[in-house]
């Protein structure tokens, strides 16, 4: 018997293979993607390491000095002589620290909401695509109906219903989780649709039939065989959804129905800041707003780039 020559005589390291992959190459040659990643990383890093980076914990009343209220950026305070890079708000909190902590909350809610939407959407999508028939039709009709309503409306609705069920004393404690579920529920449809479509394609491929011939369990086939092959588009949607979820959270918090006041997010900060705009204290609004914009934009750009990079037809 003759052996075909091995295609690659020596194994390159895993790290080198990643660096050498088409995706990594596409990334290296896309300035927009690199810039967006840098911006996103700086903001995310700031949020994650907020307790170490921030000069104060803005939500610990013991650290606050009301005398510092309304200090403009880069100007020493008339009474205390303290200087704040981005100024201080009405209660004398350092804006930079406030933003770092606010971003932390925003990102946490956004990421958890996307994770929730992803898990729900992937499970529904895999199941609908695999079963087909009326199960699929029913699930997808539900998805269609939900898609007809604006996401914010659905989040508001879920939020309202949840409030009615949760006892008062737990309300603040659970508010964040309710928010996460509300945003997640408004967003799972996209994941479900994409995963369902991809599953319908994959399940007819011969590698899935090969697994069925040996009687592999359907759940195993769905999660071990099909899922890894549909993760590409899922990641793209996840990234774009993260930007949307952060904005949705900000919107809800801006409307006053989001996170509890003890744990303000960027949206809360914007709501607070907005009331001082007329009296001329612009920095209390501007810096949180810019942060939100930069975060949402960079993550969204990254998602867009990822979508194009993974689409072979555009390459």
């Amino acid at each position: 018997m003759t052996t075909e020559p091995n295609p690659t005589p020596k194994e390159p390291s895993r790290l080198y293979r990643m660096w050498d992959s088409d995706l990594a190459y596409a990334f290296r040659t896309a300035p927009v993607a690199i810039a967006a990643t840098l911006v996103a990383l700086i903001i995310i890093g700031g949020a994650v390491f907020a307790p170490w980076l921030a000069t104060m914990n803005p939500f610990n009343p013991a650290e606050l000095n009301l005398m510092n209220g309304f200090t403009p950026p880069m100007e020493p305070n008339a009474f205390t002589g303290e200087t704040f890079l981005m100024g201080a708000d009405n209660q004398g909190r350092d804006m930079l620290s406030t933003i770092l902590y606010g971003t932390r909350t925003s990102l946490f809610v956004g990421a958890m909401a996307v994770l929730f939407a992803m898990v729900l959407g992937i499970s529904v999508g895999l199941f609908a695509g695999w079963r087909g028939g009326w199960v699929d039709s029913a699930l997808m009709r539900v998805a269609d109906v939900q898609l007809a309503f604006p996401a914010i409306l659905i989040a508001l609705l879920v939020f309202g219903i949840a409030r009615g069920f949760i006892p008062d004393n737990l309300r603040d404690q659970l508010a964040i989780w309710v928010l996460i579920v509300a945003i997640g529920l408004s967003d799972w449809v996209q994941f479900a649709r994409v995963v369902r479509g991809a599953t319908m394609v994959e399940k007819n491929k011969e590698y899935v039939q090969a697994a069925r011939v040996i009687g592999a369990h359907p759940v195993k086939i769905m999660f071990r065989h099909i899922l890894p092959n549909v993760m590409g588009p899922v990641l793209v949607i996840a990234t774009i959804s993260l930007a949307l979820a952060i904005i949705a959270e900000a919107t809800l918090s801006f409307l006053g129905v989001g996170v509890p006041p003890t744990q303000p997010s960027l949206g809360t900060l914007i709501r607070i800041g907005q009331s001082f705009l007329i009296s001329g204290e612009w920095w209390i609004l501007l810096f949180p707003a810019l942060t939100l914009l930069a975060l949402a934009l960079s993550v969204n750009l990254l998602g867009d780039w990822l979508r194009d990079a993974l689409n072979p037809r555009l390459r």
Binding site: T2, T3, E4, P5, P7, Y25
Partner: protein
């Protein structure tokens, strides 16, 4: 010897990629005589379709013709403007592709497409063009052509569509038809009908055919001469009968004996070890040398060029270079 209709000399087609330049065709040369059927065979990825695309100026960018020349009746067509090329396509060179649906516009009736093509290339009235179109459809074997001509392509079956495509390729009376795997997507019983039609109608009109396929059986029955491509290079060119029955190039010989036939008796098929190299890993010297049982000294060092042999044959193999063989006497 008469002037060739199409003459390809040292054609090089390259695709720049980030891992370097891929040479899909490496100094390919061949001629097609007027009225002749030239079969182009080779394994998947050998460069058959790229050769056809280069001739009609349809290589997808960033791919490009890096060097060499293509002449149609002595006139260069590889460096002319896209405008001029478009005039040649359809008028002087007709095309038939594997999937008939890609060559037909689903939004127009067959009549509309045929009449438009006829009138862009031939100066005649609408009624006149229609008459020609019906005659042509009739000729390619569409029953009740006068009635069916007003149908849309999706009303036809696969085989019928391919007949329509052949009619479309021939309606401007081209001198050359390039047919890229015209029957691969069709059933065996329909395949032979299509090949028959293509061959007869081209012969009738004196059009030469470049028939691209990986099916040696089709080539054997249809072509006058055959060109064998391997890894983007020409391995052997010659009259069909000779190449099939007494191949000179070790690759061609191996290929021919690895095909099971309806008459052979042996239990095992002859097999060539290994597979054709990918474009980014073509060995130095003769591209076939790692798989060749007869490889010797020069094979891994220097690339063999096509050497003319008796009977209008050409072969690119050091075994047929007397000087090289003398240098290495033990083979």
């Amino acid at each position: 010897m008469a002037e060739p209709l199409l003459s390809v000399r040292d054609l090089v087609v390259e695709f720049p990629t980030r891992r370097g330049i891929l040479r899909a065709l490496d100094r390919v040369s061949f001629d097609i005589m007027p009225g002749e059927v030239l079969g182009m065979v080779g394994e998947s990825g050998a460069g058959k379709s790229i050769t056809g695309a280069a001739i009609i100026g349809l290589i997808e960018p960033p791919g490009r013709i890096a060097s060499g020349e293509i002449r149609l009746k002595g006139q260069r067509i590889d460096n002319i403007t896209p405008e001029a090329m478009r005039k040649i396509r359809g008028k002087r060179i007709g095309m038939v592709f594997q999937d008939p649906l890609t060559s037909l516009n689903p939004l127009y009736t067959v009549a509309q497409q045929l009449i438009e093509t006829i009138r862009t290339h031939i100066d005649c009235s609408e009624a006149e063009a229609r008459k020609r179109a019906v005659a042509l459809l009739d000729r390619v074997g569409i029953p009740a052509a006068a009635r069916r001509i007003d149908d849309y392509p999706h009303h036809f079956s696969g085989g019928m569509r391919q007949r329509v495509v052949i009619a479309l390729a021939l309606c401007a009376e081209p001198e050359l038809v390039i047919a890229d795997e015209p029957t691969t997507a069709l059933d065996v019983s329909v395949q032979s009908q299509i090949i028959e039609v293509l061959k007869d109608i081209c012969a009738e009109r004196g059009a030469a055919v470049m028939l691209i396929t990986h099916d040696m059986g089709v080539i054997a029955e249809t072509a006058d001469r055959v060109a064998v491509l391997y890894a983007g290079r020409m391995a052997e060119v010659g009259p069909v009968r000779e190449v099939i029955t007494e191949a000179m190039h070790p690759y061609t010989a191996g290929l021919m004996s690895s095909i099971p036939t309806l008459t052979q008796e042996s239990d095992r098929l002859v097999q060539i070890p290994g597979a054709m190299p990918r474009l980014n890993a073509i060995p130095t010297g003769c591209a076939f040398n790692p798989r060749c049982a007869k490889a010797f000294g020069p094979c891994t060092v220097e690339r063999p060029e096509l050497i003319a042999q008796e009977g209008g044959r050409q072969v690119a193999c050091w075994l047929y270079d007397e000087a090289k063989r003398r240098e290495v006497p033990h083979v």
